[in-house]
């Protein structure tokens, strides 16, 4: 394939072409508000891609026909169109674009369209929206609450990320990709989580090398958010159809910053901050009576002694009460001339957690280059090397007392856990099994990644005039990562000493290569005197992944040794996977005078992950938008009105391995043997496919000072891959089959308003409201429960006619019917709302804030169960429930037991249908102040006085991230916590979590 492509490009280069004779037009472009010259403004001939950009003085010059119209555009400014006629000088003043209608949105694999002509609801997040307020450490964190239709959840509070992003509801029930496809500058990047064996070390899971319970970060964490110029989110199949079989969960297109022609700009930025726990959960007091009644009377003497000598300690605050340090440093240099632009950014993000010995560091260096080789050929190169280093500590589910998040709920305040003068950690009570301070200080859970993102693209104009153009594009990307993870539980830990082979270490190497190449052609034609613009694009795409994961796991280590190769018992393993996808596409776009904009396209894809590798699956799409205000004279307040409708299809591929019926190896008594795995492969497996119809209306009022985008969608997913769960006593537990359909329906409203817009104060608000409802419309397998830890605590039910994210559990509503579960609500919120605002005042001050509210969603919580069993929940001693030990209201008031006991036995729903406290899933809501900041821009005159011309600008500020939270959630630290990471279903399980974190930062940014 590669050779063929090279030949193709070469062939095209020898094809010659001609330009029409035209006159020369020149002029300057200025900012209307400040009157200063604007470098880097795009000047193009309407309907073509012919054009230039303004130089440092805002001047431009190009040749154009007399019939041509020049379009002046610049990001953040409303574009202007000027007819050339017999003018030879055109001077233009651009006005700031408050409605963002002019920004260019990528509409296909090789084409783009103005937002005002877009037929889909595409969320665009600019650099200012992304990081303008505060500095979340990962890109997904920076997107939280900023767009309609996205449910973004932080899985935990350890630094370094770990997020679950669901666009427009549920797009798979677990067999295909649950996370959107991320494409950075044309590079398809890998956002997987890679295991390191931690859940084997603490026995949260047994056996396999990969587990979501390792609680690792998804690898989007490697991308430096500071490099991002803008993010476009294609939420559903109608917008993402041209991406074919990988787009079922949506596509996130990230564009990084580029240099501009003009003076070289140097920016230095520094954030310094801290993080603290938002809340604590334990702290119940202990006395002799409590020990006698409910725990071990034998420990009364120990309790009395601890209280007497002042060693009675709240261990939760001891472990989670630290202050995390945040230090982000970045230095960027960008600039260029008419031929070449460059952007270089080096950054260090360094953050420690609220638990000692946890932290995240990311070292990133990026170079983006563009170069015009000639008038007809330009190339671009994006290179980004990243090293991430993450210490993620020991939280989450556990079956061996190892995790401090699991042992702290049980740890009594009267035990002594501090190390002695020689550094020896005392044992915790045998019933708890481990000293959380010893784990915090001595156990290792480290994951490092070295990663290279490399993109290359070339565009050749085969011909280009004001009537028609033909462009050939080549685009390729490489994402290579090399991970190295270390797990170590020293052999002299309390929990290890009781093992048959004390000490655990695992060394995991992960090498993952993703590549993509695309070759496409774009033909444009201006018909009907330039009123009808036609764009035809077509191309071929190939992408591939190969992953090699090797590990050595050792049990039984000499004291002080962390190398698993030195272990008494060691297990090496190698896991390989690879796949290749091929596709081709063709798309036709038509624009009639910006009044009616229509497009249609189709993509064909095949993949080695499908049962039939040679079969092409087709993904058609079509869309139409009508700018009513351009067709009809709408007087009054309405300044813009667009109706739009789009339809498209996408698919999700089966996971690697779904095809194979596997024979595992085993051994007994020194003899090797074969035994089949309990899951069967399916060689007839097909991709999951989705269709989506999206329609909406966009309007602007009062000269677009108020804008609104209202979208409804109906996204149907077919042939969902489901485990056909067989009767397990047959020795086969399941096989994957295409067996279910579901539908997601939802509403998204995005509003924007300039409440005040004058010289003194600018106040802009952006309310966003959205919800999604899912329902399974076909299920050809028996209904089943999935996720969680059994029906006692709540599980997800897959059943026709119901939502797959509905959470059910004990008790049964009909004891005779083993599948008649009590319903505890839905993991998807009833609705989500966020409110962003930005106020600029006193010329140089800017205040911004983002509130995010999630209404009525259900969390499977086991965290409180642990704290109740341990006797430490903050309200454990209270008798406010007035219940007895069976969870009933007692006849005799003397039988009332503490809440911590009563909760362990109250099942089901109360009289109002609200889940009882205790083991039941919890229905909850939250309001979080995701971001808040105040910035001050030092006036230019002050800078000139102090530094002359050396410093162009200084911006200082203070910001907070999740600094305020309201929630009625009582089942744990935070309702966002999730032990199972980004699982499609079953991710909202709160167990062994640590406190949610608030981050406060001070910012300094200097432009030279």
């Amino acid at each position: 394939m590669k050779k063929t492509l090279q030949t193709a490009v070469l062939l095209l280069l020898v094809v010659s072409w001609a330009f029409a004779q035209e006159r020369t037009v020149s002029g300057t472009v200025k900012d209307k508000a400040s009157g200063s010259a604007m470098p880097g403004v795009n000047v193009t001939i309407k309907g073509t891609s012919v054009g230039t950009i303004t130089d440092t003085g805002g001047a431009f010059s190009l040749s154009a026909g007399t019939n041509a119209e020049l379009v002046f555009s610049f990001i953040g400014f409303a574009s202007q169109t000027v007819k050339v006629g017999n003018l030879s000088t055109i001077d233009v003043q651009l006005d700031e674009d408050i409605s963002q209608l002019e920004e260019v949105v990528i509409s296909g694999l090789a084409t783009s369209v103005k937002r005002s002509n877009l037929a889909n609801s595409v969320a665009t997040i600019s650099a200012k929206d992304l990081l303008g307020t505060t500095t979340p450490i990962t890109t997904d964190a920076a997107l939280q609450g900023k767009m309609a239709g996205a449910n973004i959840q932080a899985n935990g509070s350890m630094p370094g990320g770990g997020f679950n992003m669901q666009l427009r509801g549920v797009s798979t029930l677990g067999a295909s990709a649950s996370q959107p496809l991320f494409i950075v500058d044309g590079i398809y990047i890998d956002n997987s989580q890679f295991s390191n064996g931690r859940s084997q070390a603490n026995k949260a899971t047994g056996g396999s090398s990969s587990s979501t319970q390792d609680n690792n970060a998804n690898r989007l964490a490697d991308l430096n958010p500071d490099d991002i110029e803008s993010i476009e989110v294609l939420k559903g199949a109608s917008a993402a159809a041209i991406y074919g079989t990988r787009a079922n969960a949506g596509v996130v297109l990230i564009t990084t910053k580029k240099g501009k022609a003009g003076k070289t700009q140097i920016n230095f930025g520094q954030d310094v901050g801290f993080s603290k726990a938002l809340s604590f959960f334990g702290g119940a007091d202990w006395d002799a009576q409590k020990l006698t009644d409910w725990f071990s009377a034998g420990e009364i003497a120990q309790l009395n002694a601890a209280k007497a000598n002042g060693t009675y300690t709240d261990w939760e605050k001891e472990v989670y009460g630290e202050t995390g340090q945040i230090r982000n440093t970045r230095l960027s240099i960008k600039g260029g001339d008419q031929k070449t632009t460059f952007y270089v950014n080096g950054s260090i993000a360094d953050e420690t957690g609220i638990v000692k010995n946890t932290g995240f560091q990311r070292y990133s260096i990026r170079t983006n280059l563009t170069h015009k080789i000639s008038k007809w050929l330009d190339i671009g190169i994006n290179s980004n090397f990243v090293k991430s280093n993450n210490d993620r500590g020991w939280a989450g589910n556990d079956n061996s007392n190892t995790n401090y998040a699991y042992s702290l709920p049980y740890t009594k305040p009267y035990v002594n856990l501090f190390p002695d003068a020689q550094g020896n950690y005392p044992d915790n009570l045998t019933s708890v099994g481990e000293n959380p301070l010893a784990i915090r200080d001595r156990a290792v859970n480290n994951q490092q990644v070295n990663r290279l993102f490399q993109g290359f693209n070339a565009n050749a104009w085969v011909f280009n005039n004001d009537k028609q153009s033909f462009q050939v594009k080549f685009n390729s990307g490489l994402d290579y990562q090399n991970g190295y993870a270390t797990i170590w539980l020293p052999s002299d830990l309390q929990s290890q000493k009781v093992e048959a082979n004390p000490g655990f270490a695992q060394d995991t190497r992960t090498e993952v290569t993703n590549y993509n190449v695309q070759f496409s052609g774009v033909y444009t034609l201006n018909a009907m005197d330039g009123k009808l613009g036609l764009t035809t694009s077509a191309g071929v795409v190939q992408l591939g992944t190969s992953a090699h994961i090797n590990y050595v796991r050792g049990r039984g280590l000499p004291v002080g040794v962390s190398n698993p190769g030195r272990a008494a018992v060691f297990t090496p393993d190698v896991e390989n996977s690879r796949n290749t996808d091929q596709g081709f596409f063709i798309q036709q776009e038509a624009n009639y005078d910006d009044k009616i904009i229509a497009s249609a396209g189709v993509r064909f894809d095949r993949s080695t992950l499908n049962g039939d590798v040679d079969k092409f699956y087709s993904f058609p799409r079509g869309s139409v938008a009508a700018n009513i205000h351009k067709m009809v004279d709408i007087s009054g307040a309405v300044s813009q009105l667009k109706v739009r409708m789009a339809y498209g299809q996408t698919a999700g591929l089966p996971g690697f391995g779904a095809l194979y019926s596997r024979m595992d190896v085993t051994a007994v008594g020194g003899q090797p043997g074969f035994q089949p795995l309990t899951t069967l492969g399916n060689t007839a497996i097909k991709p999951e496919s989705a269709t989506e119809l999206e329609y909406g209306i966009d309007f602007g009022l009062f000269n677009n000072r108020v804008t609104a985008e209202v979208t409804m969608y109906n996204k149907k997913v077919f042939n969902l891959i489901q485990p056909l769960v067989t009767a397990p006593t047959t020795g086969v537990t399941s096989t994957n089959v295409n067996a279910a359909d579901l539908v997601n329906k939802g509403l998204e409203i995005t509003l924007g308003a300039d409440i005040i817009n004058n010289d003194k104060i600018k106040w802009n608000i952006q309310p966003i409201f959205w919800y999604n409802r899912s329902e399974i419309t076909r299920l050809d397998i028996p209904e089943r429960l999935t996720g969680g830890f059994g029906a006692t605590f709540g599980q997800w039910r897959i059943k026709e006619g119901l939502s797959p994210t509905e959470i059910v559990g004990q008790p049964r509503t009909d004891p005779a019917d083993p599948t008649s579960w009590t319903v505890y609500g839905n993991q998807q919120p009833k609705y989500e709302f966020s409110l962003g605002q930005r106020i600029t005042f006193l010329k140089n001050f800017e205040f911004s804030a983002l509130l995010n509210y999630r209404h009525k969603f259900t969390v499977v919580s086991l965290t409180r169960v642990l704290w109740d069993e341990g006797g430490n929940t903050s309200d454990w001693n209270s008798t406010s429930y007035g219940l007895d030990s069976g969870g009933d209201i007692p006849a005799d008031a003397n039988d009332v037991v503490p809440n911590g006991i009563a909760r362990q036995n109250v099942n089901g729903l109360d009289a109002n249908g609200v889940p009882n406290p205790g083991y039941n899933p919890i229905l909850t809501s939250f309001l979080k102040l995701r971001e808040v900041a105040l910035y001050y821009v030092v006036p230019r005159t002050a800078l000139n006085n102090a530094f002359g011309n050396v410093i162009q600008g200084i911006r200082i500020g203070m910001s907070g991230n999740n600094v305020y939270r309201w929630t009625d959630y009582e089942g744990g630290y935070d309702p966002e916590n999730s032990n199972f990471g980004s699982a499609a279903l079953g991710s909202g399980v709160d167990i062994g979590s640590i406190p949610a974190v608030k981050r406060v930062m001070f910012h300094l940014s200097v432009d030279f």
């Binding site: 050939v472 595992d664 074969f674 059994g790």
Partner: protein, 448 residues
């Protein structure tokens, strides 16, 4: 010219699409099941046979702990999982989707392995008929054993006797039909072993020393069949089977085949050893009721209050509070083997057959073999059938402690209500059987 450029590009794209083909990706990680089910080679069949013996350990740990907990012999003081103590002791509703249902479901794998071997043997010409019978006899023996464990957990729910096609399993049979079906697997296996020649075509793992020829391995098959026969209360058949086993009045009571363990992968360590988070204790009620000087107590449990230095009794307080000073001491190392069936059980079965056939003299003789070995004086209780059966059940409690028998024994004599409950509030219960696992229920609901 312009049209030519576009045409060239279009032709190139068509060429690229046509030139690229996708090769299917073969599984880079595992061997394939299909490769062994047709024209299997001898070495593949040998690997399947060893796999069968390895898989016989599947689920046994959970099973033994579940049966021991429900039968109130032992408790799993599991500091990260309170359902061992609460749900399995009737303090909270039993859950047919919880982890402990592997006490039923895990035995599906050895049954499937046996079915794969039986099908592979019928579908190959690589081995002789005698060798085929050896594979079949081994497969049917372990199929019978796994099915029996499954039935013990499910009891009156019964089990599926034909799961050859996992997508068309038979409906669960009644308890009596299930027992008869299991006896059928074992009897077929015994006949096949008779026709299997003098030696197995594969090397038997070390746990089967002394049982590594078809003739000797058949003694294990018959011992398991004997267990089935006494569950069926078919004392005549039991009396016929007893001499076909490795039963020995004078032999070592520990004699018998064992499952071995080795923590080095792909083998695995004994899953029943006590760990930091899972300590198996004997109920004080059981151990305190033992006769003084019973060496079965002192060898199987450790009184932690008598260690030097002494420890305080082990305490559990998640969901229910219980204390025991007896830590089990049977499975102490990752390599400690697990007995499949022992001579001690056969001796006590001999006693039971004698008692059931009203031969009080022989019954006492066999009881006393066990008592003597335990350092106890001869049996001096009543000689009526009821008294002898009670005496045998008591000896079985201590002789076969933590080997998965107490609950089943009391149930087959309809004496579950006589199991001594620990004094805790709220009061524990003895479940009669586990529920049918949720996936079993759902399958039959969807495939009536």
């Amino acid at each position: 010219m312009k049209n030519i450029a576009i045409k060239i590009t279009a032709v190139l794209m068509v060429l690229i699409v046509n030139a690229c083909s996708l090769e299917p990706v073969l599984d880079p990680n595992f061997a394939s099941v299909n490769a062994v089910t047709k024209d299997a080679s001898k070495s593949q069949l040998n690997a399947l046979a060893v796999g069968q013996i390895s898989l016989a350990r599947n689920g046994l740990a959970t099973y033994t702990l579940v049966v021991g907990t429900i039968g109130k012999e032992l408790f799993n003081f599991n500091s990260t999982e309170s359902r061992w103590m609460t749900e399995l002791n009737g303090l909270r509703p039993i859950d047919n989707s919880a982890f402990y249902n592997t006490a039923t479901t895990a035995f599906g794998s050895p049954v499937r392995q046996a079915n794969i071997i039986l099908a592979s043997v019928d579908n190959t010409a690589s081995v002789t008929d005698q060798e085929k019978n050896a594979y079949r006899g081994l497969a049917n023996t372990f199929k019978g054993l796994a099915s029996l464990y499954m039935l013990n957990a499910q009891y009156q729910n019964g089990i599926r006797l034909d799961v050859t096609d996992p997508f068309k399993p038979s409906k669960p049979a009644t308890y009596d039909e299930s027992l008869a079906g299991i006896a059928g697997f074992l009897d077929a296996g015994a006949t096949q072993l008779d026709g299997a020649g003098a030696a197995f075509p594969f090397k038997m793992p070390t746990g089967f020393v002394g049982y590594d020829t078809p003739a000797n391995f058949k003694k294990i098959n018959r011992a398991i069949a004997l267990r089935v026969a006494i569950y069926q209360k078919n004392w005549t058949k039991a009396a016929t089977l007893l001499p076909q086993t490795f039963f020995s009045e004078t032999g070592n009571l520990k004699a018998g085949p064992v499952h071995t363990f080795n923590p080095s992968a792909p083998d695995f360590g004994n899953p029943l050893i006590n760990t930091g988070s899972s300590i198996i204790v004997a109920l004080e009620e059981v151990m305190n009721a033992a006769e003084p000087g019973d060496t079965r107590v002192t060898t199987k449990v450790t009184d932690v209050t008598k260690l030097t230095p002494p420890l305080s009794p082990l305490t559990y307080s998640s969901g229910v509070t219980y204390q025991s000073k007896y830590r089990t001491n049977i499975y102490t190392a990752a390599t400690t083997p697990f007995s499949i069936i022992r001579n001690e059980e056969l001796v006590l079965i001999a006693a039971e057959i004698a008692a059931q056939q009203n031969n009080a003299v022989d019954a006492q003789k066999y009881i006393n073999i066990v008592r003597t070995a335990a350092g106890l004086p001869n049996y001096a209780g009543g000689t009526g059938q009821a008294a002898l059966i009670d005496a045998i059940l008591k000896e079985r409690l201590y002789s076969l402690f933590y080997e998965g028998h107490r609950w089943v024994d009391m149930r087959r004599y309809d004496k579950l209500s006589q199991i001594v409950l620990p004094t805790v509030t709220p009061a524990m219960k003895v479940l009669t059987q586990l529920e049918r696992p949720v996936a079993e229920v759902n399958w039959d609901k969807a495939n009536p």
